[in-house]
């Protein structure tokens, strides 16, 4: 049995003549938060769907905690928790009923399912609306409920497809805390995102995906190092010194108020590697 949480080899998946995944290789060690970064249409969702057995690959193979996603679907589904890009909650049921259903179908006892449902509703700030139908929830509440559903059975591998899209800053912070907690508990997390800050903050390793392939991989720091040099910005005490400063920077003796060393941001990495700019995060008000 493989020791990798995720092992993807030459994975291809096409839709007609669109090659959503085009020979993708990826390895994720257990116990880490792994960030998958890519522009729209890069193949993030397709990869997540293949890993969660929702979609059959056209070629290549993928294993989750040692189990093949095609040959061994049941074993894979017993080990993953999924929160897809679009919240998958049953509108006609209450938040609590949604969670209990997922917990029951993940083979938890009725009592345990009820206990965990209450606990997650609390944890994701849904306690107040727990017994209201999900159709009355705001977009952010639905997302949180969907996440809670994906995590309720404490699976060893959690697949989160753009989990913070549409969350307000406070909910996003709560989710980040939850992901950090998962990692402390030893859960492997695969996180796709458009928020560079998110992977920078949470992920131990990052892969950049573009046109169905991984185009770069490493720690956030390695990726930044790979792209250009750091920028040193110097703030002058005396505005009048500006010309002199420029001339004299190679010499010595300029009074410096503040020095800010800027490493390339992940934005730069993104741009450099994929040739497009990352989506600007849209912050939603609470």
């Amino acid at each position: 049995m493989s020791e990798l949480a995720v092992e993807v080899n030459g994975l291809k998946r096409s839709f007609g003549d669109v090659h959503a995944l085009n020979g993708l290789h990826l390895e994720i060690k257990p116990g880490i938060v792994f960030g998958l970064l890519g522009p729209n249409g890069a193949g993030k969702t397709t990869l997540v769907r293949v890993l969660s057995t929702l979609l059959q690959p056209s070629a290549g193979s993928a294993r989750v905690l040692g189990h093949d996603v095609v040959a061994d679907q049941l074993a894979v589904r017993r080990r993953i928790g999924l929160a897809g890009q679009f919240a998958a909650v049953d509108n006609e049921l209450t938040g609590r009923e949604n969670l209990i259903m997922v917990a029951r179908l993940s083979r938890l006892s009725a009592k345990e399912a009820a206990r965990r449902a209450t606990e997650s509703l609390e944890r994701y700030s849904l306690a107040d609306v727990a017994d209201r139908r999900a159709s009355t929830y705001s977009g952010g509440m639905r997302r949180r409920l969907d996440l809670a559903a994906g995590l309720i059975a404490s699976p060893p591998l959690v697949l989160l497809d753009e989990p913070t899209t549409g969350l307000d800053p406070r909910s996003r912070q709560e989710l980040w805390d939850a992901i950090a907690a998962l990692q402390r508990e030893g859960t492997t997390v695969l996180l796709t995102t458009q928020y560079l800050e998110e992977v920078d903050r949470l992920a131990e390793r990052i892969a950049v995906i573009d046109q169905g392939r991984i185009v770069a991989q490493g720690t956030p720091s390695e990726l930044k190092d790979a792209v250009g040099q750091s920028t040193v910005s110097v703030q002058l005490t005396n505005a009048a010194d500006q010309d002199a400063a420029l001339a004299a920077l190679s010499q010595h003796g300029i009074a410096v108020g503040a020095v800010d060393i800027q490493r390339p941001s992940l934005d730069d990495v993104f741009l450099e590697l994929t040739g497009h700019k990352a989506e600007e995060p849209v912050l939603e008000q609470a």
Binding site: G31, L74, L93, L105, S154, E185
Partner: protein, 279 residues
């Protein structure tokens, strides 16, 4: 950034409350338990939307009024009064249309992502559909009982023994169950809810109207008549009619209806499950 050990050590705050099974297949008990959970979910939703069930009656009630009081006088049904001829047909039609909610509901669940959620869980795909069709059968039973009540109000007078009557209802219910699977397949195969709304329904209309549900097939034009005579809806309606208000022996049409049911079930259960797997 915190370094973590390469292999997860213990699960900290929330230990696994169950151990991950390594059996390659689910046990029948597990499939049954999942089916129960899923059917329960469906029934709870129906109870929560009673208007939705009321909506299921509007059309059959309109048909009862239309045929009983408008067209009925012009239809010759021999020794049977038209209302006694009509009601078994209406009951079969109600069950057939009622079973179409299976497919519509599934397309809705697909569009809303619920199907994806369920498919990502360690349950059998068949349980998803068995749970759904079982719940729809319960809803269907309720609508049948109400339609029988409405029939009695407009003059329907069953003349056969009660156990024959019950047998007719059970046969109709079983037929609706089979049609639920066809509807499930159509619903899962259609790409979006709009298509399912139209296509999902259209194929049952010729089956219902080119049958003996509203008029005897004797006066239909030859090709339609040929179709109507082997139409499972004709066979079921004839059986139900004979079991409710008498006339002929119900044995032959009932047996043929059963043959249809078994055949359709054998065909559409695997088709629907396969379609769900691909959804």
């Amino acid at each position: 950034m915190t370094r973590v050990p390469e292999r997860p050590g213990g699960r900290g705050a929330e230990p696994l409350a169950y151990s991950i099974s390594d059996r390659r297949h689910l046990t029948p008990a597990e499939v049954l338990s999942d089916t129960r959970v899923l059917a329960g979910r469906q029934l709870r939703k129906v109870l929560r939307r009673p208007m939705y069930v009321v909506f299921l009656f509007i059309q059959p009630v309109l048909f009862v009024l239309l045929f009983r009081y408008v067209f009925g006088g012009a239809i010759n049904t021999g020794h049977l009064s038209y209302v006694n001829y009509l009601m078994p047909g209406i009951i079969v039609m109600t069950a057939t249309f009622g079973s179409m909610t299976t497919g519509l509901g599934l397309t809705e669940d697909m569009a809303g992502g619920v199907v994806d959620r369920l498919r990502s869980l360690p349950i059998s795909h068949a349980a998803i559909l068995i749970g759904r069709t079982a719940a729809d059968m319960v809803t269907n039973l309720v609508t049948l009982v109400v339609m029988i009540g409405i029939g009695l109000l407009v003059g329907f007078r069953p003349s056969q023994p009660i156990y024959d009557f019950i047998l007719a209802v059970l046969l109709t219910l079983a037929f609706a169950y089979v049609f639920s699977w066809i509807s499930a397949w159509v619903g899962l195969a259609s790409k979006n809810p709009e298509t399912a709304q139209s296509v999902g329904f259209i194929w049952v209309f010729p089956l219902v109207f080119a049958s003996s549900a509203f008029t005897p097939t004797t006066h239909m034009v030859a090709p339609v008549k040929a179709f109507a005579n082997v139409n499972p809806i004709t066979l079921l309606t004839n059986a139900a009619r004979d079991l409710m208000v008498g006339g002929h022996s119900a044995t032959a049409p009932a047996l043929w209806a059963l043959v249809w049911m078994v055949g359709l079930l054998l065909l559409f259960v695997p088709l629907a499950v396969r379609q769900l797997r691909r959804a």
